[in-house]
């Protein structure tokens, strides 16, 4: 880890008793940029790993793994010993959990006066809803995003991922960096109370002002835009292939007309102004779709972008990994994992910063993988001490339970079901080969 000294966060130690996505993903870029992150898992409740949930490596690469049972006095003592030599503690339990362990902010501040302590909760650490819980999609509902997402003639819709977990994670990263900056200047640590709900609402200012200024609640517009038209995803050749096209102004419309070969219908005076196009948007979308349906989505993206018209393929997860732009940018990186996985692609863990080379990512730790390193090198325990701790099951590296998750490699029968339910569009038994990894 010689390169670490050059990295922006070299020398920062973070304890992460975090779980799932919202908190671990907040720490991912910090680990990539040189912070030493100790991920603490309870052997009785370890995180789902690659064979149960493939995202474990995305979230937890470059971290150390410590298996520690906080339900024991000795486990709590070790946690406190680690706090005394750490800079940041980051957790995402409901507020009662760390309090009941005697590990809330006041307790840890007494051990390490300048500790930075991030509590990431669903609705905040105070207030009537403080112990309410949420999974990613829930907060997307509460913050108003679902209300404005969906087909104009349909119910509110959610996105296909735990979107609000990501918002919380992005906010948590900023919170820790801001608190580190404050500590650097003043020597003071602090407690960060991050409400995933509030972090989500914080991005909704324009919608909230819209209601206050006009008395109108924004509704659902599908892919349409209040001013721009055409502004839609149009079907292309192939199975579930789509091109999005956004026409910002008259220049875009003229360029789009030329790219389409200036068909007769597009010369109708009605279509020559944004208001006119907007007024007959349904008809416009139908005619656009008739044109796009005969073409490959990738071909249209290239043709329209060359003409200066905003256009993009609605890419699926496989397309994204194969995308030439993301590959050229170094956004697609790789992890070298033990068999049976081997080399697998991931997204860049941190942001491109000139002069900063984090080097290749290290795989996420197995449960308790670094027990010995952490206890011996950081806390000075002897091998005999550690053996005794393992004997007492205070530290461990054998999962005593598994999280439900379902394997990422579906069986033949499951593939048929997933295809029938339209959950998946394709099954590729050998993605490594398709991705050029072998």
């Amino acid at each position: 880890m010689a390169a670490d000294a050059q990295l922006p966060l070299a020398g920062v130690r973070i304890l992460e008793p975090g779980q799932a996505w919202a908190l671990p993903f907040a720490i991912t870029p910090l680990a990539a940029l040189g912070a030493q992150v100790i991920k603490i898992e309870a052997p009785i409740r370890p995180e789902a790993r690659a064979d149960g949930g493939s995202s474990f490596h995305e979230l937890n690469r470059n971290k150390l793994g410590l298996g520690l049972d906080l339900r024991t006095e000795t486990g709590l003592r070790i946690f406190r010993e680690l706090v005394a030599i750490s800079d940041v503690v980051a957790e995402n339990f409901p507020p009662r959990v760390m309090h009941n362990f005697g590990l809330d902010y006041p307790a840890l501040k007494a051990i390490k006066p300048d500790i930075i302590y991030l509590s990431s909760t669903a609705y905040g650490s105070t207030g009537e809803w403080r112990n309410y819980t949420a999974y990613g999609p829930n907060i997307e509902a509460a913050v108003g995003l679902m209300h404005v997402t969906g087909y104009a003639d349909g119910p509110p819709s959610r996105s296909g991922v735990a979107y609000s977990d990501i918002v919380a994670a992005y906010s948590g990263t900023l919170a820790i960096l801001a608190a580190l900056a404050y500590r650097r200047r003043t020597g003071k640590g602090q407690w960060i109370d991050l409400s995933q709900y509030e972090a989500g609402v914080a991005q909704m200012g324009a919608m909230l002002l819209g209601y206050q200024f006009t008395g109108e609640n924004q509704g659902r517009w599908g892919n349409h835009h209040p001013v721009m038209a055409p502004h839609q995803a149009y079907p292309c050749r192939g199975n579930d292939r789509w091109i999005t096209i956004a026409c910002r102004d008259e220049g875009d419309w003229q360029a789009l007309r030329r790219a389409m070969g200036d068909p007769d219908w597009a010369r109708d005076p009605l279509y020559q102004t944004a208001d006119g196009r907007k007024a007959c948007e349904e008809e416009l979308d139908r005619r656009m779709g008739d044109w796009t349906a005969g073409h490959a989505a990738e071909e249209l993206q290239e043709r329209l972008q060359a003409a200066g018209v905003p256009a993009g393929v609605a890419q699926n997860g496989k397309d994204v990994l194969l995308n030439p732009h993301l590959r050229a940018r170094g956004f697609i990186t790789h992890l070298q994992l033990p068999e049976p996985w081997g080399r697998r692609p991931h997204f860049r863990a941190a942001w491109p910063l000139s002069g900063v080379d984090p080097g290749p990512d290290r795989p996420a730790p197995e449960l308790g993988q670094d027990n010995h390193v952490v206890l011996r090198e950081l806390l000075g325990y002897t091998p005999a001490d550690i053996a005794a701790l393992e004997e007492q099951k205070v530290v461990g590296n054998r999962p005593q339970a598994t999280r439900p998750g379902g394997g990422v490699r579906p069986t033949g029968a499951a593939v048929g079901q997933l295809l029938a339910l339209a959950r998946i569009i394709e099954y590729d038994p050998d993605p490594s080969q398709t991705l050029g990894l072998r």
Partner: protein
């Protein structure tokens, strides 16, 4: 609300003492700089003389009457900043800018890639004025790569990121989120990346260029979808809308709106779910295997939908939480503004702007216990701080300022 923050208040904020220049417009750049300003950084926003940030013309406007000093989008995205108009395309404007750069820690901008170079403000020129400046670029697709000069709107980000493909019904077109989310995600990341670069610049004196791609920050959101293909070979689609949304975590209709049950209950807490719902008829052997509940989603929906429809969404929300089922309420803007939890935590910030009515804005992304929250100054009027900055800080005379104004530089 204080009009000018005093130095002691500034230094007690998380980013007190940090000086940031912003050449931003619309959402991504201004949101990045707003987050830094809300944390106590002194952000000077540079706007084109006579025109200003395009967000000033975006609305929503009070009473729907366009007014460049009362655009909701602008008022939201520019709290706690100061504004100076400056024409960066002429040498006099560039000279003033480079003097400001000398005193700055970071520059945040979201112009087209290459725009700064065209103004003679390439990194080399900026570092000549200030070697440890952090230069944060935010752009649609980044500063290099085959898509560098691609045109984009939010819709295009949703398509290329992979977010759109997995949102909506599988038998209809893929959907984007309702608001400019990609650009906000880029703004938050740009703020973090700027601070990360500063952690290196402070001890070493080495400036850096930060290269944030809006499309990439949205693409990171779908990591699990990409991982599913990379590890399992499956390419996920949009979720079918199986009746009550169960078990696909879609909104379910209640008597007065929608509740989001999430996957708790139907997939992971099936043993207690029928009792919680008051629906013993769900306890059928054919529903026992979780995969069967997915395959028989329509049957499950036919049983649970009437129960949901019989009660209000808030009833379901609170009762579910008592049972530790993480249900949530689908809320609109009006309901969020009236939310008791947000009120109890005093989340909203009330503001008054000379050109706009009183309004509530979202408060901070997170609460800091020791460093102070900002005084919450409203967004600046176009060029409001020209004299304070140019005469008060750069030491220009009134006559020089007058000259710059007459030449249209300021």
């Amino acid at each position: 609300m204080s009009d000018t923050s005093n130095p002691s208040e500034e230094s007690s904020q998380a980013l007190g003492g940090l000086r940031v220049l912003e050449i931003g417009q619309q959402i991504a750049g201004p949101y990045c700089a707003k987050l830094l300003a809300d944390l106590g950084a002194d952000v000077l926003k540079l706007e084109r003389p006579g025109v200003g940030d395009g967000a000033r013309r975006a609305g929503p406007f009070p009473g729907k009457r366009p007014d460049p000093e009362a655009s909701g989008l602008f008022l939201f995205l520019n709290t706690n900043k100061r504004s100076l108009t400056l024409d960066l395309s002429v040498p006099a404007g560039r000279d003033v800018f480079l003097r400001l750069v000398r005193e700055a820690d970071a520059l945040v901008e979201n112009n087209r890639p290459g725009k700064l170079e065209a103004w003679g403000l390439a990194p080399a020129a900026l570092w000549e004025a200030n070697p440890d400046l952090v230069i944060t670029h935010i752009s649609s697709f980044g500063q290099d790569g085959p898509y560098r000069d691609y045109q984009a709107t939010e819709l295009i980000f949703y398509a290329l990121s992979g977010m759109q493909y997995i949102t909506g019904r599988h038998d209809r077109e893929p959907l984007m989120h309702g608001l400019g989310q990609a650009q906000y995600l880029a703004g938050v990341n740009a703020a973090s990346a700027t601070l990360a670069a500063l952690f290196r610049a402070w001890p070493t004196g080495a400036g850096a260029v930060v290269d944030i791609s809006i499309a990439e920050m949205l693409t990171r959101v779908i990591f699990s979808i990409a991982n599913q293909y990379a590890y399992g070979g499956t390419v996920q689609r949009r979720e079918p809308n199986n009746g009550a949304g169960l078990p696909n975590s879609s909104p379910v209709a209640c008597s007065d709106g929608y509740v989001l049950p999430s996957h708790a209950g139907i997939s992971t807490h099936w043993d207690t779910f029928p009792e919680f719902m008051g629906l013993p008829e769900l306890k059928r052997p054919e529903f026992e295997p979780p995969t069967e509940r997915i395959l028989r989603a329509h049957e499950v929906a036919a049983i649970v939908e009437p129960a949901f429809a019989a009660r209000s969404k808030r009833d379901w929300f609170h009762q579910a939480q008592e049972w530790r089922f993480p249900f949530a309420v689908v809320q609109d803007a009006q309901e969020i503004l009236a939310c008791p939890q947000l009120a109890e935590r005093q989340f909203f910030v009330e503001m008054e702007h000379p050109s706009a009515e009183r309004y509530k804005l979202p408060g901070p992304l997170f609460r800091l216990s020791e460093s102070r929250q900002p005084g919450w100054r409203p967004a600046p009027r176009l060029g409001q701080h020209a004299e304070a900055v140019l005469c008060g800080e750069l030491g220009l005379s009134q006559e020089q300022l007058h000259h710059l104004r007459r030449a249209g530089v300021v």
